[in-house]
Each structure stands twice: as C-alpha cells, then as structure tokens.
C-alpha cells in the first residue's frame, strides 16, 4: 500500500514551553498536530501536519450527539543521549483499529499512522521533557464529523494526533492510592463497548469517580455488570493482585480494555518466571486472601501512570490495607524496569521500543 504524502504547514510563532518540574497531565499542547480526513467513497485523504488549532464542527456533527469517536494514548521519551523513544506504538495503532471496528468507523492504515506520528514528533521533539517521570503524551483520535441527526454510522471522519508534555498522571506520584470498590455503578458489560477505547466508557465512569472523590478515594474498582462480583478494572487502568506469591489479573472478557501496559507486564512477569494468571477474580476471593494475610500487593497499570500501587481497598466499608499502605517490591520493580526501558536507561530485551532517530533516518 503506497504511503499518502503528508503536507506540512509549520506554525509562525512558537508557544512557550511549560516548566518541566511543575508539569501536570493533559493541560499543555504542542505547536502542531496531525490531521487526516475521511469521506465515504474516497477513503482517508488530505494527510497534513498543521499548527495546533481548534476543530470546527457543524453543531449537528455525529460525534457531539452519538459519541462516534475512539482514541489512543501513548508516550514518547527522550533519553540522555537525546534519542527519542516510543513504547510499542504499533500496539496502539492496532488497538485503535479494533476500537474503530467496534464503533463502525473506518480503519486507519497503521503503518501510515505511525509514519505520521514519527513526522509530527520529529517536528515537535523540543517539546519532549527530559526530567525523570515526564514524557510527551500522544493522543491519536478519530471523530465522526458528518452533520446528521440520525442514529447511523457517519460518512465523514477526521483523524487527529495531538501531543502534550506531561508530568505524572497522579499528583501523588508512585505513592499508593486509595480505592473504593464500586457496588452501584457499572463501567461496561459484555456485549457493550468496554473493550474499545471510546468516549462512552469514560463518560459512564465519571459519576462513580465523583462519589469516590467525595469520600476521599482516588479511584474506583469496577466489578462486572452481570454478577457484580468479578473485578474488571480500576479507574481507567487494568488491575493486578499478588496473592501468596502468584500474580493474578482479570482475563480479557469483552468488557475490559486490553491495556498495552498490562500486556507488557504479563510478558515481564513471565520473563522473570513469576507465576502469573489471567483469570476471573472475585472481590470475595480478594477479601479472603486479605483475611488470610496473603494479599501481598495490588496495583493498577496504564499508559498514563505506568504502575499505580493500591494501598487501600474499601468494599462497602470493609477496609483492606495492602502492604502496610506502602509500594510493594513487585510494583516497584515493575515500575522501575518498565520506566527504564521506556526511557532508554535499561536494555529492552523485548523489542518494545521504537527509536525514532533510526526511524527518521530511514524516512529521510
């Protein structure tokens, strides 16, 4: 498949870059963005890198009414030698196509999208912060921009990639977070869109999150929508439990998002010969493990936070304090290893890292 040419229009001015020591998540955006258009019958066209600017949408655009949109999240890192690294970006593009399928939206060309991303990052490479814990967050997304109030897949779409220099997702950093087990609200159910990275899954989680906030908890732990007993995710992360020397994470079941960090952690654990299982795990089993003193560690995993240790689980008022509310050794080892591989401080035995300098050299 031949590659679409990318038109490049550079911005006239440049924004001031934020102080890397006080960076927050998702508030600052770089000078440029990538955009492509889709029209039924013509396919994807007009691939371009342009100055970061507002999206203009007809008020009747399908995305605003019926939520036809999917997104991805990944990070670029600059290592000490100045080289730029992406972590498994091909996995994100692959998942984006799965999400697009679920939402009846047109697939992107993954290789073309990676090429566009590489070009965009090359232009914006001065925006990649280098302070430890910071990175350039990458947000590809596709929206339905046809003006039509009927409930039907759109015939027009736009694909964007925007970039945001970020600090840690959680203000607390790698410190353990407090989690409320959610009994009332449900994030997603089998047969729904929970396995896709699409807007509605996040909108539906806000209310539970708000209630948890008010009670002093950072995130909720989602239980399945059918039996209301099996653990699904925590906030917008996947979740791992270390019980009596074994690591367990809920199996992919159609309502859980298949995280790329989750996948990488499974691979790392297997590489280290630590017993790890993808299976159903009920909140009762977790309580029982806690009561037996074998609930050793709990942690969330995701692109934004990488690893987020859980210090407390509150299930209907029953509080389980995990590892004395301290970051466990396994969570720390995983965080360090993954962060070091991502930052180029440690060898990458899995071929996960895409070094952009090589990539850019190849394109030149």
């Amino acid at each position: 498949m031949s590659r679409h040419p990318i038109q490049i229009k550079l911005s006239e001015g440049k924004k001031e870059k934020p102080d890397p020591t006080t960076l927050v998540f998702g508030r600052n955006f770089t000078d440029h963005m990538f955009v492509a258009d889709f029209d039924e019958g013509r396919g994807w066209h007009s691939h371009r890198i342009v100055p970061y600017a507002p999206v203009t949408l007809d008020p009747a655009s399908i995305v605003l009414h019926y939520g036809q949109t999917v997104f991805e999240g990944m990070k670029a890192y600059k290592s000490d030698d100045g080289s730029v690294r992406l972590f498994r970006p091909e996995e994100n593009m692959k998942r984006m196509n799965m999400s697009l399928d679920r939402l009846c939206m047109p697939r992107i060309n993954e290789e073309q999208a990676l090429h566009a991303l590489t070009q965009l990052i090359q232009i914006e490479k001065d925006w990649i912060p280098t302070t430890w814990g910071t990175s350039l967050y990458i947000r590809p997304f596709v929206i339905a921009n046809e003006a039509f109030l009927g409930v039907a897949p759109a015939k027009k779409y736009q694909f964007y990639i925007i970039l945001s220099p970020v600090g840690s997702y959680y203000k607390e950093g790698i410190h353990p977070i407090r989690i409320l087990v959610e009994n009332e609200f449900v994030r997603a159910v089998k047969g729904g869109t929970g396995g896709a990275k699409t807007a509605g899954n996040y909108a539906s989680g806000l209310k539970a999150q708000q209630v948890a906030d008010q009670k002093g908890y950072s995130q909720v732990m989602w239980l399945d929508g059918v039996e209301r007993k099996y653990v699904e995710e925590v906030g917008s992360m996947n979740i791992f439990f270390k019980i009596n020397g074994e690591v367990i994470t809920p199996a992919i079941n159609g309502s859980i998002l298949e995280g790329i960090t989750r996948k990488s952690i499974l691979q790392l654990l297997r590489h280290w010969n630590i017993p790890v299982f993808e299976r159903k795990i009920s909140i009762d089993e977790i309580k029982e493990a806690y009561e037996n003193g074998v609930l050793e560690e709990v942690f969330g995993t995701g692109t934004a936070a990488v690893i987020s240790p859980v210090g407390e689980l509150n299930w209907d008022g029953y509080k389980m304090i995990v590892n004395d509310n301290m970051t466990g050794p396994l969570a720390k080892q995983l965080f360090d290893t993954l962060s070091n591989i991502q930052n180029g401080k440690e060898m990458d035995p899995f071929g996960w890292v895409l070094q952009l300098n090589n990539e850019i050299a190849k394109l030149a």
Copy 2:
C-alpha cells in the same frame, strides 16, 4: 430566579428552505441557533441567539475524548391556523437535567431554557413545515468543551439548541418495520448510563444496527445485559406489546430511557381504560404469546417516529409475524390521536401542548 437576558444577533442572509414534500430527518438546519456558556464558579452565562455556525473546540476538548455530552429531542408543529405548538417541552428539559446529573454536568435552568427555545422558534417560525407528517425537530444539547485530557468532569460547557425541519424518521413511514432480536450486543446495563440521553448509549448500538441492516432488518430489539432475556428497547425507541387485550411495556429499570412519548401513551391508554402494565417482559413470554396466537400488536414509540408498528420479530431465526405484518388498530389509533393532538387537529385533554403564540405574547 431572575431570567438571563438573551442577546440576539440575526443572520445576514437566509438559507433556502427545503422542499417539504421530500424532507428527510436531521439533514437541514435553520438560520439560527441558541448558545450559552458555562464556566465553573460563574455558572451559565452569555445566553445568545446567533446565526447557525460551526462549533469551535480545542482538539483536547473533553466531549471529543470522554463523551461528556447529553441531548434532547422534541418537535414543534404549526397548525392550520398558523399557531405553533410544542409537545410537553418541560418534560424534555426535566429529563435533560436528569441526564446532566448522571454525566456530572451542570444543570440548566429549565424555565430559562424553555424561554430561549420559545424565542428561537419565534425567530425561525417560517422554517416549520406544514405538510402532514412534517415538523420542526428541536435538538438541545450540552457538551463539555474544556481542553483537558484527564478523565474528570469538565469545568467548561456549552448549551446549544439547533432546529431541523424534518419529514418522517423512517422512510417507510407508518408501515410496519422488521426487527431483529439482539443476542450478542448490549445497549446498556443497570448501573450504566442507559437511563440518560447521552452519546455513549447510541455509539454502542451502532454495531448491532449495522448487522441488522445487512440482514434486512430496520432495527434491533435490545435485551437486558444481565440475564439476556428481558426486553429493554427497540433501536432508540421504547417498545409496547399488546397481548390478549392487555398492553405491556418494560418498566423503567435504570437501563431503559424513559421516553416522553412512552409516558404519553401510557396516559392515553389509561384514559381509554385499556389495561396497561409496566413490568418486566421476557422474549420467551413474547414467543409463547405468539405461539398461542395472542401477540396482537407490537410497536415502538419515540419523538422522531411517534409510533412505529413492528411487523416482524426475528429471534435467532425464529420469525414472529405480528398482525399479518400490518399496522394494528391500537398503533393506528395511538398514532392518529397523538399526531392530532401535536398538530392541533384534536383537543388536548391533558395539557400537553404549549401554544407558543400565547407564550410569545406573554413575553412581549
């Protein structure tokens, strides 16, 4: 509560109005729209009627990524004497606030919103088509327009009202539609957002709809996400069954949208002393009624189509032909009565209709 003033800026040109005899649903929009802004700490402000124009959104706007948006749908009719009528608009504004609550979005002032709508329709009254079956579709919606990639309720929103002259929602008109009972996909589940009028519910239904289309069916019938046996909705309508002289519609349970047409039909049926029940109804019960020859009528209800008779239900290849695939007498009577009340051709014994001429006179 004092009313916010509405600034009015009229458009310089006027669009050509579409031919009322070939009107489709949701493709044409009038010359003006209503907009108001919300900022945390300041509340709703800058209420204005302005020329219909694109929405400009930062690419990182929360609505595009996390689906924080709700909408409503209602219709304005022009009767033979030129008076303009709205059907229970206060119910839509009330439901909009319920949806806003569920999505952690700020409530609107219902009275203020109705006032804005009245003003907008007064300006656009020449856009209301008068051919039988046509009307002016009204789409109020609120979107989160804060630029932030964190999953949290936004601090900035916009409230829009746009208007669209429409013909019948279904090209087939009042003719019976063919329905596929959905076994794989789920629209919503208790604890989710199914009871709110929000984007994610519609996005999640597209895939099933696409599969049904390919098989030659107009809509799907949704079963509950837990037991996969109780009927919830059909497409984006509520559903009614007439079995052995009794009318049954699924009870509101947290995952079904509480339709205003549904509510009105329940009231009409009770007024006519027709036995009607809001309760759980399983697909097995429907099949049994069909086999016993007592499945007399099936019809969907909603603002767009008013009444949509169902001529065929296909459950896993088992086909139930309802009322010889013809519009049943009850569906017809309900459609005629409701349409006549809405259009001012029949007396409104329930106080459902808001006559805008009186309303506008009061405001002057």
